[in-house]
């Protein structure tokens, strides 16, 4: 919510070119999704940054809790074998 207007916050995702993913670029305040699209267009695509816009109400996003970071992400730290570069590729394999 914007303190002075009471407008909810929307997160903005922009696709830079056809074939690329939508990337989070920031947020705008707006009364509804239509206005959020217009604001996103005016704020984030002024220099030809995109060909498509997604808007999502910030309150509709469920985020992980930073306090849970240890249990969520730490366990992956010592499992380097999950990276493809961990494995030596036999010379005989040419096209992997």
């Amino acid at each position: 919510m914007n303190a002075s207007t009471g407008w909810p916050l929307f997160e903005i995702f922009i696709r830079a070119r056809a074939g690329l993913d939508h990337k989070h670029v920031g947020s705008v305040h707006a009364v509804d999704a239509r206005m959020a699209l217009e604001h996103a267009r005016d704020v984030y695509t002024r220099r030809l940054e995109g060909v498509s816009i997604w808007v999502v109400r910030s309150s509709d996003i469920t985020a992980s809790d930073p306090q849970d970071a240890d249990s969520l992400f730490e366990p992956a730290r010592d499992k380097v074998y999950r990276h493809p570069t961990f494995y030596d590729i036999p010379e005989e394999v040419k096209t992997l």
């Binding site: 207007t5 206005m35 217009e38 604001h39």
Partner: protein, 261 residues
């Protein structure tokens, strides 16, 4: 040739110049008005939105003034046309020189003009003047967005709270008398219609009217009765507000002639 009144080349040139200046000045003056809102819009998002629209309009004015400069053929550049002409040389609609007022007035003024430019540019794409047609095609894309933006806001205000509804209705009523001159057809207009350069005013009025009715209905606002009084900005007769606007806009060039950055 015996069917149509003979017109001299000079008459045709004068009519074309006047017409292009009307389009250019209307965009330029509204661009300047919206520029005044920089840093003053209700939210930072609206601030950028207004600035974008302002820059679109000034961009249109530049293209049109460059064309006017060429038609005039007197070596006056687009900058000289913008910054060194006086009030009575300006041909903009009186509507766009009206002060910003409250947000409802800003949106109502924008909407009444956007619907006009949308209809006009759409038809001007078929102009026999290739350059005018090209400018119309480019400007139309910008105007479609302006119309979507101002129309959306008008519906929100009209169909919003009692306060916003009343303000929107009042703004439409205040600005309505200035819309009549949009469709006021002069001899020079009729000449341009005959030459296929400009669309007939009646067509523009019909298109504008349909757009206005559609959005007003959705906004639960009432269309005011037709006001017979005509302003004559397109003939260089302006309200008291234009002089102040030009003083602001032209100050730099008049104080420091040929200043550049």
């Amino acid at each position: 040739m015996s069917q149509t009144p003979a017109t001299s080349m000079a008459e045709e040139t004068a009519a074309r110049l006047d017409y292009v200046l009307q389009l250019a000045d209307t965009s330029l003056v509204l661009g300047q008005r919206l520029g005044e809102l920089l840093g003053h819009a209700p939210t930072i998002e609206e601030d950028l939105g207004m600035a974008n629209t302002s820059l679109d309009l000034i961009g249109q004015a530049r293209l049109l003034l460059a064309l006017a400069s060429e038609i005039e053929g007197q070596d006056r550049s687009e900058d000289q046309l913008a910054f060194l002409r006086t009030e009575s040389d300006f041909r903009n609609l009186v509507l766009v020189e009206q002060p910003n007022g409250d947000f409802a007035q800003i949106i109502a003024r924008q909407f009444l003009l956007d619907a006009y430019q949308l209809t006009l540019y759409e038809k001007l794409q078929q102009s026999s003047d290739q350059r005018l047609a090209a400018i119309a095609t480019k400007s139309l894309k910008e105007t479609q967005y302006h119309y979507r933006y101002s129309g959306g806001w008008l519906v929100r205000l009209g169909d919003g709270t009692e306060e916003s509804h009343n303000r929107a209705q009042r703004a439409i009523e205040q600005l309505w008398p200035f819309t009549c001159e949009m469709f006021d057809e002069q001899d020079s207009d009729r000449l341009l219609v005959r030459l296929g350069i400009a669309p007939p005013m009646a067509d523009i009025e019909a298109g504008w009217s349909a757009l206005i009715d559609e959005v007003l209905r959705e906004a639960t606002l009432e269309r005011p009765a037709r006001v017979p009084y005509r302003w004559f900005g397109r003939r260089g007769v302006h309200s008291e507000h234009l002089g102040y606007l030009l003083a602001d806009m032209q100050y730099l060039q008049r104080t420091y002639p040929d200043a550049r950055w």
